[in-house]
């Protein structure tokens, strides 16, 4: 039988799932709850200058890209299966929409990180 290309998507899915499982709750708490409400962390934690400096550092770039891209690939893989589970038979369309979406998101994130203004 034909060898599956699933390993490509499954590896990205697994990496994103592991990253989300390990640090996801902390990230959501910081960026979505604590910082906007102004508790625990300093008010300027996510200020423009801080975030810009963070995203200019090579390590910062890797962290931002890893979180955004891998979360997207993880989600794309599961949503793709979810639609199949719900009985959506347009396999090719579903694949293109899910993985295409993750791919576009990855490209936008990478492009933005590489062309950040000083």
């Amino acid at each position: 039988m034909k060898r599956s290309n699933e390993p490509i998507f499954w590896s990205l899915f697994g990496a994103g799932g592991m990253l989300a499982a390990l640090i996801g709750p902390a990230l959501v708490f910081i960026t979505g709850i604590a910082v906007p409400l102004g508790f625990i962390f300093a008010a300027d934690t996510m200020s423009y200058s801080h975030m810009l400096a963070f995203s200019h550092h090579w390590l910062g770039k890797i962290v931002v890209l890893a979180v955004i891209a891998l979360f997207m690939w993880h989600a794309a893989h599961r949503i793709h299966i979810l639609l199949h589970d719900f009985g959506v038979h347009a396999v090719t369309t579903v694949r293109v929409l899910c993985y295409g979406g993750a791919f576009v998101g990855t490209v936008i994130a990478a492009y933005t990180l590489l062309t950040l203004k000083p």
Binding site: V28, G32, L37, S55
Partner: protein
């Protein structure tokens, strides 16, 4: 002539047939929230690239009640994701022997959850230290 006429039953609504399937689907649906959160972050990154005013607009947007409620839901879903991720882990790992004894599923799940708590605390401390 054969009188055989095998009857194939429909799979419509299969996931409602068993609580086990509902839990499985809940695990898979969590991905929708992971995607939404990634989109929020991507939006922030694009705004960052567009300059200070644009980025501040995104920061203000995060403070709206709808976004706060949204993030509380996302936080709950992420915690559920962590729980389910390490719960299925014993199934996805090869059989491991340590000192001649097989590593038990409970140990694998427990280690994963502990690692997650430590990693989350580390992120919180690092971010607090940076600001």
């Amino acid at each position: 002539m054969s009188n055989r006429r095998p009857y194939v039953r429909s799979m419509d609504g299969w996931w409602k047939r068993d609580p086990y399937f509902i839990r499985y689907m809940a695990r898979e649906v969590s991905a929708v929230f992971v995607a939404l959160y990634a989109i929020v972050l991507l939006f922030g990154l694009v705004r960052l690239g567009q300059g200070e005013a644009a980025f501040n607009g995104w920061l203000q947007y995060l403070k709206t009640p709808w976004m706060l409620v949204f993030h509380v839901i996302v936080l709950a879903v992420f915690c559920y994701h962590t729980w389910t991720w390490f719960n299925i882990m014993p199934k996805t790992m090869p059989i491991i022997f340590i000192g001649g004894k097989r590593l038990q599923p409970g140990t694998i799940t427990g280690t994963g959850l502990a690692a997650s708590v430590i990693a989350c605390l580390a992120v919180l401390f690092i971010v607090r230290g940076m600001s």
